[in-house]
């Protein structure tokens, strides 16, 4: 189960609304490299991880991604406060506005709704961990692209925080991949799928390959 803390992981106080930035940043809410997909990816993948450290890291990073999802929605919410219909039209936010007004809806920057097609849960630990490493890089580059357009320090500051978290997660998943391969046949990591095929675990303390 999960419990809620009544605060953001990192503070967000955006003084100047800017619907044009909101239209771009919503991408990290419901887009292909976004926080919703990240959270669902890790929380779904943990069931087929055979090793306890990897169940722990997927649970914890999947949980942190939910906190990032909340930060992204807070940014979009604050960027779209107190706007007139004229300002919404000028900012190009009018197409989003038709179906959602200023409510928060998971879609990408061009308005395509969130799709589970954007992530994988393969039931194969090595394939999943490589997907996770790639996912962290894709989120990192999306934040880099947001930073190319964001000028307001109130927006840049939390986006930079989120970008750095992707790099830390990438590091942890790299360690997770190493833990996985250390349990496998060093001559052929792909001899079997440890989440599906029957195999003999190496006894504790056995260092032989």
């Amino acid at each position: 189960m999960w419990s809620y803390q009544k605060k953001l992981q990192y503070p967000i106080h955006i003084h100047t609304p800017d619907a044009r930035m909101a239209k771009l940043i919503i991408d990290q809410y419901g887009g292909p490299h976004g926080e919703l997909g990240a959270s669902l990816r890790y929380i779904s993948q943990r069931y087929s991880m055979p090793w306890p450290e990897l169940k722990a890291i997927l649970t914890d990073i999947g949980t942190e991604e939910l906190a990032h999802l909340e930060m992204i929605s807070a940014i979009v919410y604050q960027l779209t406060r107190n706007l007139t219909p004229e300002q919404i039209r000028e900012a190009g936010f009018d197409a989003y506005f038709m179906d959602h007004t200023t409510g928060i809806y998971p879609a990408d920057a061009s308005g395509v709704p969130f799709s589970a097609q954007t992530f994988a849960s393969t039931g194969d630990p090595l394939a999943d961990l490589h997907e996770d490493l790639a996912a962290e890089q894709k989120a990192r580059l999306t934040y880099d692209n947001i930073l190319r357009f964001a000028k307001d320090p109130d927006v840049r500051d939390p986006i930079k925080f989120l970008r750095e978290r992707e790099i830390v997660h990438y590091q942890r998943f790299g360690e997770a991949l190493r833990i996985a391969t250390d349990h496998l046949d060093s001559k052929n990591f792909y001899a079997l799928n440890p989440a599906f095929d029957k195999w003999k675990r190496r006894p504790a303390g056995d260092k032989k390959a």
């Binding site: 419990s3 809620y4 803390q5 009544k6 605060k7 953001l8 992981q9 990192y10 503070p11 967000i12 106080h13 955006i14 003084h15 450290e53 722990a56 890291i57 914890d60 990073i61 942190e64 909340e70 929605s73 807070a74 919410y77 604050q78 830390v168 997660h169 942890r172 360690e175 997770a176 833990i179």
Partner: protein, 87 residues
């Protein structure tokens, strides 16, 4: 930054350190130094959170210092306080 924001900033800093150590310990479960640092931060957090909740209302729904009425009150985390809007 008002007193409440300063107190929350302190809590966030401690919680950030705790979180970093926790995910580090997921992939390094035998690192005794990291575990010691985690425990030190956890002790700091406990007193910082109860001081904050006594003064400003609940952060956690199940805290001993939380009450139901205060939980429902604004601002919620995504909202800005009035004085921030004006500053």
């Amino acid at each position: 930054m008002n007193e409440q924001q300063k107190a929350l900033r302190k809590i966030r800093g401690i919680q950030f350190a705790i979180w970093e150590l926790r995910i580090f310990l997921d992939t390094h479960p035998n690192d005794c130094n990291a575990l010691k640092r985690l425990q030190a931060y956890e002790t700091q957090l406990e007193s910082a959170v109860s001081q904050y909740e006594e003064a400003y209302g609940p952060l956690n729904e199940d805290s001993a210092t939380a009450n139901r009425w205060a939980w429902v009150q604004e601002p919620w985390p995504w909202e800005m306080q009035k004085e921030e809007e004006e500053s």
